[in-house]
């Protein structure tokens, strides 16, 4: 009997599994539409409704000198006169956080539906199964990021620094964040048939991750202990990179290289933990 030797490539199956994963998303119009429109709605609501710069500038009777002072304060605190622009940059990290959990949910469903049992009996590497989930979350995040950037510009995001290279750097930073979070969240899904488990944990950490970072509020206005937490939060570094690249605003460590190194470190450690653990514990 002839048998094909296609196993030599240790990543075989990755493309096909990834395609299956993404097809569940893009082939369902409602799911696709809502997941693309959701961050846009949040961006519009939060970014425009909580325009902090208005706190200083709504009173038209104020003398011009005072208005100038207000602008200066905004610049000092947020690095830009538009809180909307400041917030929009933070939104990109928010997308990565909310989408990262889908990889974990999907592995739980694969177990419930029997699909996991089937692929575990094939020569596909366990690592590839996990990578599929992580990459699909990352790809979804990046597509959402692209959409939100387009809408952000339509709603008044400054276009001065939107060069291809800077946009590419932004995507890279968000991808690293997404991979870190998805790799860690996947650990919640590899041994359970309860899809609520990854969900409740994701709900639990989403807002704390956002509020203990510079995504919505500048670090330097935070109490000391919170500043420490913010310094170990990968969202801080992601947001920092995005603001430096897209707004040319500097209110974090101020160094692209350091930011990227730390973020890359996070991603490597997290995916190593995710992949090695799943290798060991991903069974029926």
């Amino acid at each position: 009997m002839s048998r094909t030797a296609g196993y030599n490539n240790p990543l075989h199956g990755l493309g096909a599994l990834l395609h299956r994963e993404l097809a569940q998303w893009y082939r369902d119009f409602v799911v696709l539409f809502i997941s693309l429109i959701q961050p846009v709605i949040w961006l519009g609501l939060f970014g425009k409704a909580f325009d902090l710069s208005k706190l200083f500038t709504t009173n038209a009777n104020l003398p011009p000198a005072y208005q100038q002072l207000a602008q200066q304060t905004m610049l000092n605190i947020f690095g830009t006169t538009s809180y909307y622009a400041f917030f929009a940059a933070g939104m990109l990290s928010f997308i990565a956080i909310t989408t990262a959990v889908f990889g974990s949910m999907s592995i739980v469903w694969d177990r419930r539906l029997g699909f996991l049992e089937r692929i575990l009996s094939t020569p596909v590497s366990r690592g590839v199964i996990i990578m599929t989930k992580v990459f699909s979350a990352t790809i979804r995040t990046l597509i959402q990021v692209a959409v939100i950037l387009i809408f952000a510009v339509a709603l008044g995001f400054p276009t001065t620094y939107l060069t291809p290279l800077r946009i590419l750097g932004t995507f890279a930073a968000v991808a690293l964040l997404s991979m870190s979070l998805a790799s860690l969240l996947i650990l919640l899904g590899i041994r359970t048939t309860n899809y609520q488990r990854p969900m409740v944990v994701a709900n639990l950490i989403t807002l704390p991750l956002m509020f203990t970072s510079n995504a919505m509020y500048p670090i330097k206005l935070m109490p000391g202990w919170l500043q420490i937490v913010a310094k170990v939060n990968p969202v801080t570094y992601t947001t920092d990179i995005v603001r430096i690249l897209l707004l040319n605003v500097n209110n974090g460590t101020g160094n692209l290289f350091i930011d990227f190194t730390i973020l890359l470190g996070f991603a490597i450690v997290a995916s190593a933990i995710g992949i090695v653990t799943s290798w060991r514990y991903l069974t029926m």
């Binding site: 094909t4 419930r112 029997g114 049992e117 089937r118 009996s121 094939t122 020569p123 069974t283």
Partner: protein
């Protein structure tokens, strides 16, 4: 028998879930190359757990299992390359078409695209799904899904195929059709098959040998005929036209045991193998100048064997529980 190649070797295989549920309690058996081997037992007997260990998706708690000459715990990748499984639950992706599911499986085995397409169409043809190949699986009936699952599991041309309750929840006609496919693929693809079932008829009509499993233990292994012989053989009833007592004459036939006279001209006897002995009986009676007016033969069923070995009837457990399991399977399959 002993020179035949052993392709699955299981020794004292044991599984304890989470340190508490003793699902498989140290089972041992051999499966020979080219045979259809059945694990027959009620729900919860440990059949699926055994299959999961043999297909490397579940780690045994203790004991040894070798498939295609490789230890499932030490060389799982080599085992995976040589086997395929149709799990108890439907595993195809409902959002994909039948053909896409085939191609997905092919890529999991690293089969090049052109070769995969060729095999996919050939197998879809074999299970009569060619016309439905480009429809989404969610539109398939239960029988179609099962056939697709079987076709999917053949894409890598496995040496050993595991079928976990291949006809669970299917109606009688569909079940018979699936049996046909299973026989056909054994012949056409030179495959060894290990299947589990809790249907007597299935084990009886498909399997070369059966292991009866109950509460995680193997109670008995043998061919369906050997197992039935445990009960002491077939029953033959004969009526003659004459009134004379022929008990003596019948008892003297070597293969006949336990002759019982039921009424003036009817006798019941136990024989080892009815087909062989019935002609001898008729011949003997004719030679003595008597006339046979009626002969009937009853084979013991596996159900009776099961009852004898475990003290319970498998049939009691079908009906209700079966429907419940079918619903579970369907519910799990829904999204």
């Amino acid at each position: 028998m002993s020179e035949r190649e052993v392709i699955i070797k299981v020794r004292n295989l044991e599984k304890i879930y989470n340190g508490v549920v003793h699902a498989v309690k140290g089972i041992s058996f051999d499966v020979y190359r080219g045979e259809i081997f059945g694990l027959l037992g009620p729900n919860g007997a440990g059949k699926s757990t055994t299959i999961k260990m043999l297909t490397t998706v579940l780690k045994p708690t203790s004991g040894i299992a070798e498939v295609c000459g490789y230890d499932v715990a030490k060389h799982p990748v080599e085992v995976r390359r040589c086997i395929s499984v149709v799990p108890q639950e439907y595993t195809s992706d409902e959002d994909l078409t039948g053909f896409e599911n085939m191609m997905l499986m092919a890529s999991l085995y690293g089969i090049p695209k052109a070769e995969a397409e060729k095999r996919a169409w050939e197998l879809l043809e074999m299970v009569n799904l060619k016309d439905a190949a480009n429809r989404k699986v969610e539109t398939y009936s239960g029988g179609m899904r099962r056939r697709l699952e079987i076709a999917m599991s053949l894409i890598n041309r496995p040496k050993v195929l595991f079928l976990d309750e291949p006809t669970l929840g299917l109606d009688v006609q569909t079940r018979a059709a699936i049996w046909e496919y299973i026989r056909k693929l054994k012949e056409e693809y030179d495959i060894t098959i290990l299947l589990t079932t809790h249907y007597m008829e299935e084990a009886d009509s498909l399997c070369n040998r059966i292991a009866i499993i109950d509460h995680g233990k193997i109670v008995k292994i043998g061919s369906p005929d050997e197992l039935k012989a445990l009960l002491g053989g077939d029953i033959i009833e004969i009526s003659i036209a004459e009134k004379e007592d022929i008990s003596e004459i019948l008892s003297k036939i070597p293969a006949v045991r336990e002759v019982k006279k039921l009424d003036t001209s009817t006798y019941r006897m136990k024989v080892e193998s009815g087909e062989k002995v019935a002609p001898q009986i008729i011949e003997t009676i004719l030679q003595r100048g008597f006339h046979v007016i009626k002969l009937s033969m009853a084979k013991p069923t596996l159900d009776e064997v099961y009852l004898e070995l475990t003290g319970r009837s498998l049939r009691d457990e079908e009906g209700g529980e079966d429907m419940w399991r079918l619903r579970m399977t369907l519910r799990r399959a829904r999204r």
